[in-house]
Symmetry: D2
Subunit: 288 residues, 4 copies
C-alpha cells in the first residue's frame, strides 16, 4: 500500500499568505445568534452574562496568541488585531483565522457553565465563523475599530430605547419600532429620560462602549513620545537583536491582560498606550 502514487494531491493545496507589513484583523462572529438568544433566554437589550462569556473567551485567545495586540468586542462579534509585523504561521490566512476561531470557540463552550450555571448547553452548540481583513495603515485600522465602536453605540442606544418601550412602556414590538422610526440620537435620549427616567449616559460602559482587551503597562504621558499618527512613518522593517526580542517576550508575558470599556475612537486611548501600535512592551506597573 505504497503511498507515493497518491501524494501528487498535495499540489492542490494553494498558498494563502497575507500581504506583509499590514495590520491583520481576524473578525469572529456568532452563527445564528438570534436563535441562540431566544433558546437560552438572553436578557434584552443586553445580557451581561453573555457579554462576560464573550470577554472570557476573547481573553483566552489573547493569552494564547501574544501576537495579538488588541481585541475589540461587541454583541456576538469580536475583532482580534495582529500587529502588522507579525509573522505567525507565516501569515497564512486560513491558519490564522481557523486558530483564532477555534480557540475562541473552545473557550466559549468550556466557560459556558461558569457564566450560565443554571442553563446547560444543548444541540446545536454555539459556533462562530471568522475571516481576516488587512488594513495597511494605522489610520485604516483605527477607522475600522472606530466603525465597530460607533456601531455599538448606535445599536445600543436604539436597543435600550426599543426594549424600554416594550418592557417598561408595555408596547408591542411593532409599536416600539414605529415610535423610534426616524428618531435621532437626541430623541432617543429624550424618550428614555422623559418616559422612563433613564439617563442613557449612566448606562453601564460595557453596553455603551463594548469591550477592549489589551496587555496593560504603565500609562504614558502623550507628550513624551511619538503619537499614533507618526508611527506608520517609522523605517521598516525594524530589525532588533534576538536578545531584545527575548526581553520583549518576557515582559509581554508578565503583563496583565485587561478587559476594559473605553473610548477607542478618540486619540487619548492610543496616545497613553503606545505599546499597542508600536508592539514594544511598556513598563510593568508596580504592585501596590
Amino acid at each position: 500500500m505504497a503511498n507515493s502514487r497518491f501524494e501528487y494531491v498535495r499540489n492542490f493545496e494553494q498558498p494563502d499568505p497575507l500581504l506583509p507589513n499590514t495590520w491583520i484583523v481576524v473578525r469572529v462572529d456568532g452563527r445564528a445568534f438570534t436563535k441562540m438568544c431566544a433558546k437560552y433566554k438572553f436578557e434584552k437589550p443586553n445580557d451581561r452574562r453573555a457579554l462576560d462569556l464573550m470577554n472570557t473567551a476573547a481573553k483566552a485567545v489573547i493569552a494564547d496568541l501574544p501576537e495579538i495586540t488588541l481585541a475589540y468586542g461587541v454583541s456576538d462579534e469580536y475583532s482580534f488585531v495582529f500587529h502588522k509585523s507579525t509573522n505567525l504561521f507565516e501569515r497564512r490566512s486560513s491558519k490564522l483565522v481557523s486558530t483564532v476561531v477555534s480557540t475562541f470557540t473552545s473557550n466559549y463552550v468550556y466557560s459556558w457553565f461558569s457564566h450560565f450555571p443554571d442553563t446547560p448547553l444543548s444541540f446545536p452548540l454555539p459556533t462562530f465563523d471568522g475571516r481576516a481583513v488587512l488594513y495597511p495603515t494605522i489610520q485604516n485600522l483605527r477607522d475600522y475599530l472606530s466603525w465597530r465602536q460607533a456601531d455599538c453605540h448606535i445599536n445600543n442606544l436604539y436597543n435600550t430605547a426599543f426594549w424600554s418601550l416594550i418592557q417598561l412602556g408595555g408596547m408591542e414590538n411593532k409599536e416600539a419600532e414605529q415610535a423610534l422610526a426616524g428618531t435621532l440620537a437626541a430623541d432617543k435620549n429624550e424618550i428614555l429620560f422623559s418616559k422612563f427616567g433613564i439617563n442613557y449616559n449612566r448606562e453601564p460602559e460595557i453596553f455603551k462602549k463594548g469591550s477592549v482587551i489589551f496587555r496593560d503597562y504603565e500609562l504614558v504621558e502623550p507628550a513624551s513620545h511619538n503619537t499614533a499618527e507618526t508611527v506608520d512613518a517609522q523605517a521598516e522593517p525594524v530589525q532588533q537583536s534576538k536578545k531584545q526580542t527575548e526581553n520583549d517576550k518576557k515582559r509581554r508575558s508578565k503583563a496583565a491582560i485587561v478587559v476594559d470599556h473605553l473610548d477607542i475612537i478618540k486619540d487619548e486611548f492610543w496616545d497613553r498606550r503606545p505599546w499597542i501600535l508600536s508592539n514594544k512592551p511598556g513598563k510593568i506597573p508596580k504592585e501596590v
Copy 2:
C-alpha cells in the same frame, strides 16, 4: 457619532470564493496534539476514547452541515468533503473553513466529559486549525482520501510495532526506533507476530483504517448504476426542480449518519454507495 465616515473600511474586505464545480475538502488538524497526548495521558499507540471523541465531533459537523457528503478521520485530523455542487456560504473559503473548525471544536470540548469522565479539561484547551483544498475530479478527490487512508495504515503499523517493542519488549524509544529503521511492512508484521504473538490483521479496524462518516442508505448493486468513474462526465450543472430539491433534503434528513471503518481506497466502497459522489439520496433502509 455618525458612523458613515468610517464605513469605507469595508472596502478592505477581499472576496474569497472557491472555484465552482470542484470538490471542497476542509481539513481540520489538532493543534499541538503531541503535548495534549502527554498532558491527558492518551494511550499509545491509539487511545480509543480520543478517537471516539474525534468521531463524535465530526458526526456533529455533518449533522449540522448536510452539504458535507463524507468525512474521513485519522489520529487528530479530519477531512470534510463538500459535494462539488455545493453553494453553501457562496463557497466563501474563510466562512466554510471557520464554520467547520468552530463546529468541530465546539463539539469536541462539549463532548470531552462523556469520553473522558475522569480527566477534566484544563488550560490551554484543545483547539484545531483548518484549511480548504479543492479537487477538480473524482479521481483527484479519491486519491486525496486514499492518501490519508494509506498514511493511516503506514503510521499505525509503525506505531503498533514501535509501542509493542517498548511496552511489551521493554525497549527504550531509541532502541525501538533503531529496531524498526529500514524495515518493510512485512518485517513489522513479522516482528509483531514472532515477538509478541500479535496478528496485525486482527487489530481493530478503527486503528488500521481510520473512520469514515457518511449518510447511510440501502447498498446498491454495483452493476445497476454508473460507477464512480463515469460520474464526472455527466452534464453540468444539473438543474432540478425545487420540489425535487426539497424531496432530496427530506430524505437526506431521515438518513442515519454512520461512523464506519472501511476501505475507501478500493472501488467497492464507492460503487455500493453512489449517493456519496452523486449527491442524490439513496433509499432509506427498512427498519427490521
Copy 3:
C-alpha cells in the same frame, strides 16, 4: 551600495498559482475598440481585414505556446485554452496572462501593416487586456466556448440586419434600432431576405461562426475512440515516459496550425479531433 538591506521587499510578491488539473482559458479583449473602429474606419458590420489581423496574431500566440490546445476568436476578443495538464510557468496566473497578452499585442502591431497597408497606425496604439478563468470539466469548458460562439451568432445576425437597414435601407441608427427592437432571429432573417434579398445563411462563415484555431491532424472516425464525454473520467495524472513526451512534442511541432470557422457547439467538431481535449497529438496528414 550593498543591495541586501533592500532585498526584504521580495517578500511582498504573492504567489498566484492556478489550481492544477483545470482548463485554463486566457481571454484577450481589445481596449477601447469602439474608438479604434471609428479611427481606422473599420467596415460595418464586419471588417474582414481586422478579423484576419486578429487571427494572424492569435496564430502566432499558438505557435509560440504549444501548450495552447485551441483558440476561439470573435470580434475584438480571443480565448486561448491551455490543456488542463499544462504546467507552463508553474501555472502562475500573471505570467500566463501577461505572456499571452504581450505575444498577441506584439503580433497584432507588427502585422498591422500587412493587413492595413493603406492605414498607418497612430497613437494611442491598439492594446488588449486579459484575464484567466478556470474550468474544471470538459463540459464547463465546452459550455464556455459555446457561449462565445452563440454570442457571435446572436451579435452578427443583429449587426447584419442593423447595418443593412442603415447602409442599404437608408435608415438612421435610431430608426434601425427601433425596427429591430423585440425581433426574434427568424424576424431578422426575414427582414434581411425580404427587404434586401440577403440570405443570412450564405453570409461568410467567419462572420457567422467566428474563428477557431488548432493544430491539425488526420480526422478521426467518432466511433473509433472515446468521445469527449468520457475523457474527464480517465485516471489522472497520466504519467508518461520522457521519450513519449519528446515524441509528442515533435509531432506537435510538425502539425499545421489552422484557422477555421466551424461549429464548436455540436459534438462533431470535438469527436473528430480528439487530440484537442486529450492533448495526444494525432496523425500528421499525408501530403498530397
Copy 4:
C-alpha cells in the same frame, strides 16, 4: 441558439481586486531577452538604442495611464508605480497587469523601427511578461525602487568590467569571469582604470543609474513641505471635491513626462518632487 443555458460559465470568473490603499507596482520583464540580444546584436555591456526604446515604450505607458506616478527601468525590465489611492479598473490585478504589459509591448514593437532603422524585427517577436506587487508603505515602496537601482549599479559595474576585459583586454568569457571572481566594487573600479583608463564615474548616467520617468513640475525646496517620511501618516482617505479632482487632472495633463537618470535611493529626489508620493500635481514650470 439561445445563449442562456451557457451563461452559467460566467460564475467561474474569480474576482482579483488588489488591497486598497497600498502602492501597486506593475513590473514588466522582457521574455528571453538573452536570445533577443544575440539575435539583434545588441551592443555589450549596454545598447543605448535598446535602452532608449525601452524608455520610449515606458513613456507611452505613463502618457496612456496618468494614474502611474513613477516608472523605473533598467536593462529589459520596467517597474510602473500606481499611486496607492488609485482605483483604476477597480484595482483588478489581471486588468492592471495586462493593460500595462500590452501598452508597453505595443509601443515597443511600433517604435522598434525608429530606434533600430537598420535591423528589421523577425519572428519570434519581442514580448514581455508582468506581475503586480503591493507595497503598504512609502518606505517599502522606496526600498523596492532602491533595490532595483542598487541592482542596476552592481550589474553595470560588473558588466562594464567584464566586457572591457573581453573587448579591450582580449580575454575569453571564462577568463574574464575568473578575473572578476571575488572582486569588490573598488577592485572593479581599479581594474577598469588601471588596465583600460576607464573612469567608471564618467560612464553615462543612463547605464549607471537606469532611467526614471515622471511628470515634471517646478522643483520644491525640501524645507517648505512635509518630507516623504511623513506623508504616510496623513489622514486617509482624502476626500476632495470633484472640481479639485478635475483641476488636478488638467494640471497633470499639461505636465511634461520626463525621462531622467537620477539617484532615487537618496531622499533628495523625493524631497524635491513631493507630487510623486502625494499625487498632488505641482506647479507647471514657466517656459523660458
